[in-house]
Symmetry: C2
Subunit: 134 residues, 2 copies
């Protein structure tokens, strides 16, 4: 799969999983909704997160920007499996900046269900990769 093909499959998916590194050097993993714009992946945290775990990803990225984001497709027919991955570095956007507003617009277009957004995470993708069994 070419990087361009991986990026297209990634951009079309509805959910992905974000891996960050926590301050003790352990991996941290959460599902995210997202929007892709070129080689940047945007994701948001709800305005009023109910659990501290929802904010851990932001603290992790501030301390260590290395992130990996995965989209995968499972099927009981294993000739139809595929996954695509975006590896890069994360940035927590300042609220009110043009980039944050742009990201919120992109996310609102993809997810009418999205509630008010708090912080926005931008991931600058250094490498799109993927695998398909078919």
């Amino acid at each position: 799969m070419t990087p361009q093909q991986a990026r297209e499959r990634f951009a079309a998916a509805r959910v992905a999983r974000l891996a960050t590194i926590d301050p003790s050097g352990r991996p941290h993993l959460v599902p995210i909704v997202f929007a892709v714009d070129g080689d940047t992946v945007y994701s948001a945290v709800d305005d009023k997160p109910k659990r501290t775990t929802e904010l851990r990803r932001l603290g992790n990225v501030r301390a260590n920007p290395s992130v990996s984001v995965l989209v995968d497709h499972y099927d009981e027919d294993w000739s139809k499996l595929w996954w695509v991955r975006a590896d890069g570095t994360g940035r927590v956007l300042e609220a009110g900046t043009a980039e944050a507003e742009h990201a919120i617009t992109l996310l609102a277009e993809r997810y009418p269900q999205q509630r008010a957004v708090g912080a926005v995470l931008a991931i600058d993708v250094a490498r799109w990769s993927g695998w398909s069994s078919g």
Copy 2:
């Protein structure tokens, strides 16, 4: 969600995502099929992996055993979202040991599609956690 509930939802899923840390300290993310036995998650690598990426997870775990494994459920109705996570430490099992054979049996029962297994990864789960929007 209690740890027991998280474990049950996790065990019933067909696919999960494994996060490891690579030698440069960056997160690495791949989908896995798996079987749960108590507080251990077993996963296998195909006998003849076609890509080096399929083996990276094993090298990563040997160098840094910290892993996180996520199962999530996406639905356009965001009142039905949930995820469950297993955080723990990984071990690459020696081929031919009783534990490796046990794991291969469990995996074959869950996945008749599974081809010959090469290495088996065991993850000792220190913490089951989860979240549900409903």
